[in-house]
Subunit: 215 residues, 4 copies
DNA sequence: TATGAATGAGGGTTCATTCAT
DNA sequence: TATGAATGAACCCTCATTCAT
């Protein structure tokens, strides 16, 4: 399993194991799991097919590992950065910012695979990944519920809110192009604005507003 | 063997052709295009592989036909219902409502396939479908831009707004279960609320502002 | 079986049967027997595959019939024209002339098929055609032997002479193009010249030769 | 499994690759390309179909390789042996001798395939082989033209002469049987005799000879 | 570690032929 | 006669995986 804490001199100094994961992720992301053959991965790593099997147990285990790795990165780059934020609205905004950047900046391969090959794994492997995904959904749901209770955002269904958040953010992998007209920063800013700029109850307004109206 | 003498509520009275499309859509939706074999589809329709080829030209043509059919339904059930709405905000709200219902009520198979197998078709076939998809994106972008110009919603990037809309709505296919805790109606209502209830510039503020300007 | 004695107003007035044979011959000549499907022949005749089977017994029977028909035409246009010639050398020269014309002028399709699909038929069907071919070889051998006995041509092996004759003449189907630089007439004349102009013993030499034998 | 420790006179010591080519050539020669299945070739080599594909790229590539190999052998055993002969008539006679021996002695399989499957290859592969064939035709044409200019043979059309030469010689593959009544040597001798014994202008002898006799 | 060779299973597709209508 | 539908057998080829070396 690739550790994030590494000399990190880029792809050339990686262990064979990591070079395989790297190549597999690239190919599976580009062509899909079924359309990527073991031969493709062997070619991309300069190994023979049989040689490859000294490093991996099976094609499916590769996919599982890539998905776990993607979740590792996600949890490191997104979740762990925001879990400690006490204010639920700030937590959600931070989460959106980090998540947009993850999807748009460099880790899109693994994320794309997790999203696109969501039904390829089966049995235990599938359950493992699904459990990790559900943790994230629940984290979002909980945060939305908190923000509603605290009066920071309007009372909406937390589940629908969480999946709306996810849909907006994860859908990005289907249309974003790094060399396109919209930058990652713009997307992060605009999406925060779109979802929270409206959703959010503009703090002073409401209670005063009521008072004013009553007056 | 299809007997004509039957109550025939649904699938039983279809032409062989349509029964094949129906079965193929179901299987491809469930397992993915690559994981669905011609044998699977033959089994599901009670034909032999060779018999199947009496009705279709190739596996890929099946996928193309399903996707075109999905786009047909989409354009009939969603686009054609809202294009004539003059008010851009109402148009967008109506569009969201119709689209959510399409995704949640019965046509999800074809839509799912269009979304999930977005890179499976190649060449001319792929271009055809992509062109139809892009029409929808542009329709949304344009509507958002109009609504911004008319002052009905806050000034956000129309492209990001359009893809946020799409992400929210289309992502539904990944999590919605008809027998789940959230109904299709709820989703439609809540998502309208989430995206426009916030995005929209609340009416009261504006009139005074206008009056002031006019004054 | 197509009769040669017909109104002969060309392809349009033919019986379905003959239109099938005509189309099959054309296609099999162009693409080969294995590469020509029953569907191809059905398409070319405007029939359905099943309709075709009302007129023919099997694909192989079609090939047999075409080959028999080719042999019919050959015997009518070549053999029957020259068998009665008493002088063996004149007979051979006439035979070459007729044969070259047959191969180059209009009946090349059936002849090509007989030559190219010489191993496609099996069993009884193959034997039938082979028997007819062998008759021709023996006819040539006999004629060469006669011409040698009569002192008209030099003493060569009649079998090799016969197959040389055949090779020269039948090979034409591999290289002749009606719109090419060499006309059918030229070929006929030149090949007579090449084979007999040389082979033939020029008049004067002969008498001495007899004397030698007598001595 | 190829064991190295063996007397190994012929086929047994070949590389798997060559054993495949050998078997394929034999089968394709016997039954034709279309009628020879990959399964046939696999059976003949003791491999499975999938195992076969470890050594070859496709069925068509096998045919191409066989044809190129046939041309290689032809150029080595025929062309290279005679190109250097200065006298054009001697060159043609030598060529006929070598060519007859090639067709009758052991290399007939590949030659037969080149001749019979002349329309099976397509595209680039076909062009490659055709180019090599055409070189030979031009070589013969040129040699005939030279021999005519030098007054060694009577003035005939070089193109027709070249194709007559080819027809005689190549047709052999259709009728020659190693255990038949005519030996390869006989064929070579007789065909030289038939084509050149007559074609050739008996140099000074004839016109003077006549005068002398008359005198 | 590494590999060449091999394989069983299965992929999509085509074929000549049949038969109820 | 004619046909739409169907089929069993075969087609070429690819796959993930294994194993002796």
């Amino acid at each position: 399993m690739p550790r994030a804490a590494k000399p990190d001199r880029k792809a050339d100094s990686l262990s064979p194991r990591d070079r395989i994961l790297e190549a597999a992720a690239r190919l599976i992301c580009e062509k899909g799991y079924d359309a990527t053959s073991i031969q493709d991965i062997a070619d991309a790593t300069g190994l023979t097919k049989a040689g490859l099997y000294h490093h991996i147990r099976s094609k499916e285990s590769l996919l599982l590992e890539i998905q776990h790795y993607g979740m590792d990165v996600f949890e490191e780059k997104v979740l762990s950065e925001v879990v400690a934020i006490a204010d639920p609205l700030e937590r959600l905004k931070g989460c959106m910012d980090k998540n947009v950047r993850l999807v748009t900046e460099g880790w899109s391969k693994e994320v794309t695979i997790i999203l696109h090959e969501h039904a390829t794994l089966t049995g235990e492997a599938r359950s493992q990944i699904n459990a990790r995904k559900k943790r994230y959904v629940r984290f979002l749901e909980t945060s939305f519920a908190e923000a509603i209770r605290s009066g920071q955002i309007r009372p909406v269904d937390p589940k629908v809110a969480a999946f709306s958040f996810l849909g907006m953010v994860l859908w990005i992998y289907k249309w974003f192009r790094p060399d396109g007209p919209v930058s990652a920063e713009q997307i992060a800013r605009e999406m925060q604005n779109i979802l929270f700029g409206g959703l959010e109850i503009k703090a002073p307004p409401r209670p005063p507003a009521r008072k004013v109206r009553r007056a």
